[in-house]
Symmetry: C2
Subunit: 385 residues, 2 copies
Amino acid sequence: MTQRNWSVPETEVVQRIRDRLDAGGTDVLATIVDVDGNAYRRPGAKMLLDEGGAGVGSITAGCLEDELVKVGARVRERGRPELVTYDLMEDDDEDVWGLGVGCNGVIEVLLEPLSETYRPAVEAFSEGRDVGVLTVLDGGDSAFEQGDRAYYHPERDALRTPDGDDAADWPAGLAGPAGELAADGKADTVTVDHDGTEIEVFIDGLAAPADLVVFGTGHDVGPVTEFAAKNDFRVTVVGFRGAVDLDERFPAADRIVTTSPATVPDDLDLDDRTYAVVMTHNFVDDQLTVESLLDAGVPYVGLMGPRERFEEMREAFDETYTESQLASLYTPVGLDLGGGSPYQIAHSIVGEALAVSNGREPRHLKEREGPIHERVDVESDAPAQ
Amino acid sequence: MTQRNWSVPETEVVQRIRDRLDAGGTDVLATIVDVDGNAYRRPGAKMLLDEGGAGVGSITAGCLEDELVKVGARVRERGRPELVTYDLMEDDDEDVWGLGVGCNGVIEVLLEPLSETYRPAVEAFSEGRDVGVLTVLDGGDSAFEQGDRAYYHPERDALRTPDGDDAADWPAGLAGPAGELAADGKADTVTVDHDGTEIEVFIDGLAAPADLVVFGTGHDVGPVTEFAAKNDFRVTVVGFRGAVDLDERFPAADRIVTTSPATVPDDLDLDDRTYAVVMTHNFVDDQLTVESLLDAGVPYVGLMGPRERFEEMREAFDETYTESQLASLYTPVGLDLGGGSPYQIAHSIVGEALAVSNGREPRHLKEREGPIHERVDVESDAPAQ
């Protein structure tokens, strides 16, 4: 049976794309570029299909994957992209049963031969940089062709070709929406005027994964690393005092750092995408680490331990930190899910980090007003250059 | 290196105990019987230590495990239980550094040679029945000895010996608190008068795992089964219309059932410990399944799909079901954590099922008033018989 790992963390999809680029495989990359109605995945969801029909990633919950394998084979053979639209709206027509009635929404998918033009995307992702991937969906009468690609690099605030040159022939007006989408990690299609012709460009804001940094090496750390990795955090385990065998003990971690509480700021890049969980079970280590994290202004510091334990720390903190700094400190760490096993505690911790990283207030979705997925709201008609 | 899987789901600990009983191993079972202050685990947390010092389960986050391996070796050698107390309260004394300063609380642990007297506990667990495991901690001047064991079976509302006979010599007053603890899945130590002597008995309410039943066979089902199993649900995947290869596709599931929407109530035991997630992505299947689940009065029905989709179903439901019946229906399914990948969606679903199964309102623990762990509140001095 062909191996099809449709449901994998996004980080694994990107890693697989990188591996296949390195291997020079003739794979096909499928990306949702538009959704009308409610679908399981949003624009930017990807799957990679290899020659044998195997692949990783998912675009629907299984409604379309078999169909896409067929189209993928054609794209591979012809060596050029295809844009296909699937209408999965509710329908009583028995004939479409096989396509999975009940997969709501109209989904537009771009399938393209995976090529070196995609390498800057996976490199940025691996290096922890956000990037906007621009792909022409419709070049109209212009010189642009479907599949043409450019990049928006936030640190340069400009468009670049896949080779890193100035993308001088690309409409400069794309930089604005690309910057917004890259910052938000969202994707959308924009229409711009180019020398009097409208061209349609899909902009995929590929956000680098957030860092989940776990301070501690107890047996309770393993489940946190496992769940965090599955939820697309880049996971770092930090051990103090020459803790050993950490690679072996925490295989789900992307990175192991051994340091001391005093040198945490030197040995770790703490920034606004650092989500920290402090669970050293040592009062002094916990306190010093929390101080370093608050000093660095990271958006989330989850501190394990009972409320009473923190009250002792709090006296020192209240003098040093403002209320708004302390707002990023979550203790007792985790969501109130009621479980007491190591995995249940880890589930509640990772769930909390996820909610904070997405700016959500944890509660039942049924109690949330409005759509589950945030709608993308960028200037869809960028100014003509 | 010796394999030590301290952090494993509770269900795996019980399974391991069963395996070791079957193998006739000379293992030692360690159980937290009392906690004073705040500790990582609660009374009833278990670990099993085999001859080589390997084992499964965790009692602390690593503060005591090495120490317990040593005591375990002694218990194995002498062939009789030991009750040990560890004071892990915050302490500035550098000398106790090695024992893990910061592991709060005073923990009392019973270590006993694993014997056939424990088999009824693992059998009840595997068969989905709650049970109260009674173990004498201190027999005083009575004929009871430390480690003596009896069981409380809720379906009989009486104490039985491990062999299944009437536990006629055990204080009948233990049945009351044992019933409460077994129903709540909590553990506590009670002191009872027995022929004029006080005896101390640890009652471990061993709750059978709750069932998480997933209706659907899409690619989005796999991550739900994985997270649910790690969180100690007994996981069933239900496929319709002769879905194939389900065992292979969902290895984390404990059970696969193939049926049709109309025969769901016949083919599944739906009761007050059934947590159901409906994600067939087929409107009619979803509706019929939700109806069966509401009819059966299960405590949690999570329905995947957008709110708009449910509004259509709701019209039919509003006529058939009362508001209180519909209160167990959660749609859109999941907690509002903001993630959109298959694993992130699964994390939000399993987190919701966990919260509902524990009667918790999902929110940050730092916003919850009172202790994180519910205190056990049973009559600690059972009436003399």
